[in-house]
Structure formats: structure tokens, C-alpha cells
């Protein structure tokens, strides 16, 4: 019973860590793609001397 619970817990941990890995990768790629757009949006709020 304890072994089964431990196995289930380790499977769940593996699943969670896999999903966390994909989440981190996806967010990292999204930020890389979005940085120039974000820069453009932020620059739009600055006066010409600060841009």
C-alpha cells in the first residue's frame, strides 16, 4: 500500500515537473518573441528626448 502510494506520488511529481518544464520553456520563448513589441509599446509612452 505504501509502495503504491509512493509510486503514485513519484509519477505525479514527474508529471508535475514535466509540465513545469514545458511551462518555463513556453514562457521563455514567448518573452523572447515579445520583448521588441514590449519595447515599442514602452517607448510610445516616453517623450522624444527619453526614447
Amino acid at each position: 500500500m505504501t509502495a503504491m502510494t509512493a509510486r503514485r506520488r513519484s509519477r505525479r511529481l514527474r508529471q508535475w515537473s514535466g509540465q513545469a518544464g514545458w511551462t518555463v520553456l513556453a514562457w521563455a520563448v514567448a518573452i523572447v518573441f515579445f520583448i521588441p513589441v514590449l519595447w515599442m509599446v514602452l517607448t510610445a509612452f516616453k517623450p522624444e528626448s527619453d526614447a
Binding site: T23, W27, F34, P36, V37, W39
Partner: protein, 312 residues
């Protein structure tokens, strides 16, 4: 008797019915006529006018108007080393950008097809570069991103020993290609993602039950399924990217020298700097045919690659 019956003229009723069905078919097509006329007006007439100008000697800065000059504009185009160089650069820029954008697009589509935290937001962030106007994208990359002194890229690479690199002077062609890839990867991602989401889950489950690994499933099932989507992305990407002008004009102005001069920028220079309307028209006609050849060649090549993969 049978032969005589076969040769006999068709009965009047049958002829009338056929005429009526033909009339009906034309009536069904009639609503399409405005769209057809519009398409002809906006696509074919400008091309015919360009074709006509390509056989004329017509300079904006010379009095006398246009006069017929035969094939001399085409002769001048094909003997011009700048034109030949711009053809090669257009092919290099288009092929590199389309291939890299498609590889990244497939990878991102596979990533976005999975379930993870904030998937909707990530999809929106990745698609955004495609929604930015090409001129605005070129300006953002030219100055805030790639500037040798204030650019973000040099700032981020400074810890790795990269300092004050003038990307647009030392790596001009690469910089323009990077911007093209950045803008077109989301488009490829969207097309491939549509393909991935139309894939039947039963086949994937069956492959899993049979013990196929993730890579084998992707290579043997997903990739052949994505073939028409990848072909479409490559075709549309090639047609659009061969016409890239904004990035070249605003980032490098075709330079240093002619190192980033592609076909559209060459045409612009012909008209804007040399005032040679006839020469630019001839170069434009050649560009149209080259685009058709490149698109056909790209499609055939990828179709052959996929057929080879399917045959294995």
C-alpha cells in the same frame, strides 16, 4: 436499327433541358462576376501596364515621354551585375527566412499544442510580432534592438564579451533575415498549429498503445499529416518574403554597399534614383516570373521530401 437511332438528332425536349441547365449554371455564376472583375482590375491590369512599360524607354527626368524600345530593357536588366546580385540575395534571404521560420514554427506549434500554465497568454505573446506593421518592426529592430551603443542586444550580450557590435554594418544581411524570421515565425506557427489541432487523436492513441515513442509518432504520423499545412506556409511565406522591402529600406537602405539590396529594393532604386520606369518595369516582370519559379520549385522540393518520407 440501333445505329440509325443513335445517329438520330436528340429530341427537342432534351435540347431545351440542356439549354435551361446551362442558363441556370450561368445564373449561379453571375454573383461571382463582380469579384472576378475586381480581381482582374486590381491584379491583371497593373501587370499588363507593367508589361507594356517594360518594352518602353521612359525616364521621368527626360522630356518626350515613352517610346517603344523592344527588348533592350530586358537586355539591360540581365546584364546588370547589381540586378544579378539582388536576385541571389533575394533567394538567400527568402530561403533562409522561410526555412528557419518554418522549423521554429513547427517547434513552437508543438509546444503550444501541449497543456501548460498560461497557454492562452503565451500564444498571444508569440503571435504578436506578426501583427506589428513591417515598417514599425524594422524601426524597432534598427534602433532600440541593434544599435551599437544603446541597443538591447548588445546590452544583453555584454556579459558574454560582446561589446558595441554594429550589427547593421558587420552582419547586415543576417540582421535583416533575423527580423524577417521574427515576423514570420508566428505565421508559420499558426498554420502548423491549425494542422496539429486537426489531427485525429485516435491515431495518436493507437500509436501510443503500439508502444511508439514521442519522436517516432511525430516523424511517422504527425509530420505526414502536417505536410499540406507546411507546404501552404512555405508557399505563402516565399511569396510574401521575396517582396520584403520595409526591413531593407529602413534598417540598412540596401547597404553596406549592395550587401542587402534585394529585388524590391533594386526596383525602388531604379525608379527613385535612376528615374528609369522602363528598366524598373522589366526588372519587375522578371521578378514576378522568378517568384513563380521559386515558389513552384520550393513546393515540388518539399512534396518530394514528404513523398520520400511517406514511402519509407
Amino acid at each position: 436499327v440501333t445505329v440509325i437511332e443513335d445517329l438520330a438528332p436528340p429530341p427537342k425536349v432534351a435540347v431545351e433541358r440542356r439549354a435551361a441547365s446551362r442558363r441556370e449554371a450561368w445564373l449561379r455564376r453571375l454573383p461571382l462576376l463582380p469579384a472576378l472583375i475586381y480581381t482582374i482590375v486590381v491584379t491583371q491590369i497593373p501587370f499588363v501596364v507593367t508589361l507594356w512599360y517594360s518594352f518602353q524607354s521612359y525616364f521621368w527626368d527626360q522630356p518626350g515621354g515613352a517610346h517603344f524600345t523592344g527588348l533592350s530593357n530586358y537586355r539591360a536588366v540581365f546584364t546588370n551585375p547589381t540586378f544579378r546580385g539582388s536576385v541571389v540575395r533575394s533567394v538567400v534571404m527568402t530561403a533562409t527566412a522561410v526555412i528557419v521560420a518554418m522549423i521554429l514554427g513547427v517547434a513552437l506549434a508543438v509546444l503550444l499544442d501541449r497543456k501548460f500554465f498560461g497557454r492562452g497568454v503565451v500564444r498571444t505573446l508569440i503571435i504578436t510580432p506578426f501583427l506589428v506593421m513591417p515598417a514599425a518592426a524594422a524601426l524597432v529592430w534598427a534602433s532600440p534592438m541593434l544599435d551599437p551603443n544603446f541597443g538591447l542586444l548588445n546590452y544583453l550580450l555584454a556579459p558574454f564579451g560582446v561589446n558595441h557590435v554594429a550589427w547593421l554594418s558587420t552582419h547586415a544581411l543576417g540582421s535583416v533575415i533575423v527580423v524577417m524570421i521574427w515576423q514570420w515565425t508566428p505565421f508559420m506557427t499558426l498554420i502548423v498549429l491549425a494542422g496539429l489541432q486537426s489531427q485525429p487523436t485516435e491515431t495518436l492513441e493507437a500509436a501510443k498503445v503500439d508502444g511508439a515513442g514521442a519522436f517516432a509518432t511525430f516523424r511517422e504520423l504527425t509530420l505526414p499529416h502536417l505536410r499540406p499545412y507546411i507546404e501552404l506556409g512555405i508557399l505563402l511565406g516565399s511569396i510574401y518574403l521575396v517582396n520584403v522591402f520595409d526591413a531593407v529600406r529602413l534598417m540598412t537602405n540596401g547597404g553596406p554597399g549592395t550587401s542587402t539590396t534585394n529585388l524590391p529594393f533594386f526596383l525602388y532604386q531604379e525608379v527613385n534614383n535612376a528615374f528609369d520606369v522602363g528598366g524598373a518595369a522589366a526588372a519587375g516582370v522578371v521578378t514576378v516570373f522568378l517568384t513563380i519559379i521559386v515558389a513552384t520549385f520550393a513546393l515540388r522540393m518539399f512534396a518530394r521530401v514528404f513523398q520520400f518520407e511517406e514511402a519509407r
